[in-house]
Amino acid sequence: MKKEMLTGNTAAAWGARLAEVDYIPAFPITPQTEIIETLSDWISEGDMRTRFVTLDSEHSMITAAGAASATGVRVFTATSSQGLMYGFEMLYTVAGWRVPLVMINVARGLSSPITLGPDHNDILAARDTGFLQIHCENCQEVLDSVLMAYRVAEDEKVLLPALVNLDGFYLSFTREPVEVPDIDSVRRFLPSYEPSHAFFRADQPMAQGVAVLGGAYYSYFKYQMHLASQQALGVYKEACREFEKEFGRKYDTIEQYRLDDAEYVLVMINSFSTLGKAAVNRAREQGIKAGLLRPRLLRPFPEEDIRNALKGKKRVAVVDQNISVGKGGILFSELASCLYNEKHRPLLMSFIGGLGGKNISHEEFAFIFDQLIKGEEAEVETPHLLYTQHEWEEMQKLKEIAGRV
């Protein structure tokens, strides 16, 4: 095992390289381009024996990825933001084909206004498609999650495609020391893909993705996907155990940070949860019993683990880096529905921060803890958009320059 300084993007590329993927259909979009450029270089230099094809759009790219997977090869691809949206129709389609491809999404805000900074509206829009979703906080986790994603997706009990998500800019271009495992241990953890369920061969004609006429049949197939995704929870946990045995790093469906004795909890995902952890540390220094819960797996949603982790907690702030326009934070809704049937459930508060990559400052975290401590007495609207006075003033200035105040 060697350590290298890798960006989130190149860590993702290493994941694909170590998984010895057969096929990479590609289409560029910022900030994921570094992933496919790196892979393309490796392939042309002979470091990888993989077929690399540039497609005419993400819609075509996801289709080609799914079709190749359905023919029985291991497929990797990557996209981001508008690209994910452009291929959106095919997310449902290839998930319905039950093919275990792995796709990286480098999270980025959605147009319009068009922007480059990250938030999670792109990836969370895909949460109902049938793709499994793993969300990463750091570069090491990106590499590891690609390997785990194949392991889970290809399991006969699952057979669903997977998305691995990392934040644009904050993680895609952050360089960190990453342990790059040796290929033999990877092969032990993730043997080559030998599908038995469905593929196209001359002696075995098969119709795949055929029409069903009638809701009863349609419901049947859709529910099968749901059950498969539920199965993935167990398969994932098993994969975590074996991953730890092979590589020594421990993962779970959720990460609990200083949560044991915590009373006030932040719920955050992705690289911004690093900011959240720092805020927890600061709060602890001030004697606040703070902690953080980071769901790593969002589909399937690890409901039981989340319920257990939040048992006995006083108050929970969900910090959503997304906005469901007309409703609020998506993760907040997920948490609320997860805890609704609990007899003693914590008070839940909803904050929205980090949209389009907007920083979440110390003061804003302090404000969140302040509100958590006030609890029922707090007088903030919910969801509450985190926005500093300074940012407000900056915005006023821009509006003046634009000339329509």
Binding site: D22, R51, A67, R201, A202, M206, G209
Partner: protein
Amino acid sequence: MITEQIKSIKDLPLEENMFSGTPACAGCGGLLTLRHCLKMLGEKVVIVNAAGCFTLLSIYPFTPFRSSWLYTAMACAPAGAQGVRDALDILLEKGKIDPDENLKVVVLTGDGSAYDMGLSSTSGAIYRNLDFYYICYDNEAYGNTGFQESGSTPFASRTKTTSAGKEFAKKDLFEIWNSHKPPYLATISPAYPVDLANKFKKAEQYKGPKLFISLIPCPPGWSTDPSHTFKLAKLAVDTGVWALKESISGEVEHTVVPKKFKPVEDYLKEQGRFSHLFKPVRNEETLGKIQEMVNEYWKRYGILL
């Protein structure tokens, strides 16, 4: 390249690779085309389908094909073909499958996808020189949604979204594709099965995109009698409306040229979608214009003087 030509309909392969009992409309010209195409392609085929009438040929748990089938979506069957072809090549290269297990990859789509939504993914596949067959059954409108205008709808045709008749001419898909200079490109007709069969025989020798567009009568959309399908498909060719041709690496040649062109009116007057040109009064101007458009086409090739 010289290939042995089929001379008569009696020489067509006897085996059927598509069985009867499909849910397509009675008298569907597309089905007749597909039947002939599959006779020529054989049974080692995977059909990659885009949304269209023929999506409903395979309805769970039934399929009328001897071969494999993958339904994709409306815009992306050529990209699906890319994935299947590439995966098969990878498996062959790695020795993971026997060459006997290889398949011809065939895209099957209606004009709605071919002329409109799927045009960009088709262009991509041609440009990448993907080794595949592409069959478009062109009934000149969105058929299974009830006959609305598509990029292929011809001038003056009535559809559910052009009730007074379409304003502009149909897209010239043949020329759009031809500008990519694919190794093989042809128009075909279910009324000329020998011509169709020979084109598939010829195409077989080329690696790369092999594209076929078939003008097909559609009884419910065209408001024609299902028993007139063959006659109408033939009239389309004999009046010069549907030029049977092929192009090899961009060089166009006509394969069937009527000895004497029949008046276009003979073809139009049979169809409900053009009935407004005849009733309640004859629309001489439009009829004249349609004839002129057909003449123009053939004059360009020096075939009509």
